[in-house]
Chain length 461, copies 2
């Protein structure tokens, strides 16, 4: 036990040191790396060698703990979620079955029931945790596919017509992945136009449903996004639900990001209508600050999940409790519920509400600074804590803007340690600020805009 | 920082206490649980409340750290893998892209390359880590499906004939799940007979391939298992590879468990032929003692993975390095490579070899004890560190044996804290010992058989 204690203490010192100095490491290291990760030494290394190697790896890693790492939906994790991982990894339970994870299986079921209620679902709802939002979207689409076409046992080959799904241009690429995985084909996602807010254009949705039908294809699902990847836009869920109902489509809400608004009395109306969705993807690993991965897929009718997805395992024991491995796309699975549950226990509902409101306040401040400057352009009004904008001085022709903005992105990273990401939206490059980090302050934002002003001054001042 | 330090120190005390007393907690608690996991408190709880709740959860969890927890392929995790999770969760990198996980993306690529070589693959091989073996099997079968039927973009609906795959009766249920998920249908797995070792009967395989073809179906893949779930049997890989080659089938080797034999010079011949597999599932979360989940899918030709699975993401930056999120069934993903890499660094190749040999020694001892007793029956000769047996006294008719063995299983659990699992094999219930835990000794085994003898004495002595 002494060796266990010593190694644990060394790692604790290292982690605390790392946390205490996270603002001194670049938010984004060089991607080339310096070290080689030759993995297979003949003999085990000493503790000191291990610690040196670990420090090197940390230096070469992304640093989302930096207060001006504001580039992606990758949050600084709650302390309790990280410590929770230590505990749950130590006892190494397996979410495959109740026998192998008695406490965590029940915990997951209960937490999912509570969250489903906050989404407006009733007692018939259910769901399962999965390791990331892509798996949640994949599993939801497969349940929808099996529900519509009875393809669970016999597969798709008997279908005479092509099933298609509809999603906005800004929907996540995992929708294509889900269609590819499920055998429906990556190209069978019909792209619905965006309105000027970056949200799904519902008139275009209805138009395209009709078009697809007239072409002899079978639209069976529509995917609404609550918090798109680039701009964080929230599709008009109630209107989309109406179209889904009218045409008998499965409605899947990809609320991986925006689902966290269930914790805000002030902003939850932005996802009103989500209770009509047949399935919901929600990722506490994003706006709930739980260490990744932590994601789930919810179903309005748990019975639909069971009927359309369950594969029973003969080596598991029977009981009234359906083993979670039988209704998940995964089998053996880590108890990711524990870090979510602990975070809820430690932070509480009011704490989450405050975190969300702080993000909105920073975003309003940030967006206001963009709008003050006629050489900056905002992509659309933020629906969540994301401001997507670009540098667009009058003197510069459109075709040079991408390169100019990349230059600004690099300058901000090198000169002020600010990491904004550089995504494509409506065919152009934009700078994206995701104001997730609770340690980001208005002063940090002021400093970013001072640098942007200076960049502009030097070029066109 | 003081609060961070205090909470971390409290959790460390709790974890060390838990590790130090793991043999005092039952290997398997009551599954009913006592606590309620009401997840949504208005206000955050205090540190003391949190710690009390955590202790309760640990009490109600499966305890694979117990030296006579020998029921499942769920190992006691390496200390460094658990501590590694603490570090990687703290920096919360995202395997979606090189930008969001610069060190870990390269580390994963390098480690996979090294392991692929140990499996006998050449430089053209590649792969990706996934959160659990089911996902590995699913991804492999989808790559095989797209490779054979060109279904990536357009899906399956154009196929006129039914694709089927072949796997032994003892193959993992995730093969059914993979077929269901991929749109080929859960029932389209053709079951191949077992020989008396619990391994795939290769004559029956060839026979069934011919039968399926003659029925107008299209066998396109065979799944060989290296380490079946119940008995740990290793299918004859070389012979299966010959059949696969003869009939142009994709060969997938599910070496989730047995793949670890690449670390043993003495036993690696048991998986000879695996280098002919087009894809391999390997789970370091099992016999490499890495905290779960830790699994991977390898491909003999990395190019096949890319061509048949890649979905490009427009919001990621271009570079020569293909972002791992584009070639994985997951998107956002935790850096599970780190705990594997650290375990390899800490334990070393020779260390893993010793762990594996220790398991074989214990298994030989265990199996010998079974064979000594005429009222015990072994299911088949162990290929790995698993002994599957049952209590079969002459006096008891076959139809009562399941219940009698369950009674023995419960007695061992309640009286000697020994957890053997109770799976179905060839239509009957068996007691399964998975001799993974390095802290299990021959004395523990002696004690188990003393209890079995006593059980027998009391009933039929």
């Amino acid at each position: 036990m002494d060796a266990v204690r010593e190694l644990s203490a060394s790692i604790m010192t290292l982690v605390l040191e790392m946390l205490g100095h996270s603002s001194e490491r670049s938010p984004l290291p060089k991607q080339e790396g310096t070290g080689s990760y030759t993995p297979l030494p003949e003999m085990g290394k000493t503790r000191d060698e291990l610690l040196r190697n670990i420090e090197l790896v940390v230096q070469e890693s992304m640093n989302p703990l930096h207060p001006t790492y504001i580039g992606h939906m990758d949050s600084i994790p709650t302390l309790i979620s990280v410590l929770g991982e230590w505990i749950s990894s130590s006892i190494n339970n397996n979410m495959l079955s109740l026998e192998m994870a008695p406490a965590f299986s029940r915990m997951e079921t209960e937490v999912i029931r509570s969250l489903a209620k906050r989404f407006g679902y009733d007692d018939q709802a259910g769901g399962v945790m999965v390791s990331g939002g892509s798996l949640a979207n994949i599993q939801a689409l497969i349940v929808a596919r099996n529900h519509f076409f009875n393809t669970k046992d016999e597969g798709l080959t008997h279908l005479n017509q092509k099933p298609v799904v509809l999603a906005s241009e800004a929907a996540h690429t995992s929708i294509q992945k889900a269609m590819m995985v499920s055998g429906l084909g990556a190209s069978q996602v019909i792209s619905v136009n965006l309105d000027h807010h970056g949200r799904m254009d519902v008139q275009d949705l209805e138009q395209k449903v009709k078009e697809e039908k007239s072409k002899g294809r079978v639209p069976f699902a529509v995917i609404a996004t609550a918090g798109t990847t680039v701009t964080g836009s929230i599709d008009p869920l109630q209107d989309i639900a109406n179209v889904a109902k009218k045409y008998g489509l499965w409605l899947h809400a990809d609320a991986a990001y925006g689902g966290a608004l269930i914790f805000s009395d002030q902003y939850r109306s932005r996802i009103a209508g989500i209770e009509h969705a047949d399935s919901i993807t929600f990722n506490p690993q994003k706006w709930m600050y739980v260490a990744k991965t932590c994601a789930m897929v919810l179903f309005q009718k748990r019975e639909s999940l069971i009927q359309n997805f369950r594969i029973s395992a003969p080596y598991m024991n029977e009981s009234d409790f359906i083993n979670l491995g039988e209704i998940s796309i995964q089998g053996t699975r880590h108890a990711e519920i524990f870090k979510l549950w602990l975070s809820l226990q430690h932070i509480g509902l009011r704490g989450y509400e405050q975190l969300i409101h702080h993000g909105y306040e920073l975003t309003a401040h940030f967006t206001n600074e963009v709008k003050k400057r006629n050489y900056l352009e905002v992509a659309c009004e933020p629906d969540v804590n994301i401001c997507c904008f670009r540098y667009k001085p009058d003197q510069v022709p459109e075709e040079q803007l991408d390169q100019l903005n990349q230059s600004l992105q690099q300058t901000l990273l090198n000169d002020t340690q600010t990491f904004l990401s550089f995504p494509v939206f409506r065919g152009q490059r934009w700078l994206r600020a995701v104001l997730l980090n609770p340690f980001t302050t208005e002063e940090h934002i002021q400093e970013i805009f001072r640098q942007i002003d200076q960049f502009h001054q030097e070029l066109y001042g």
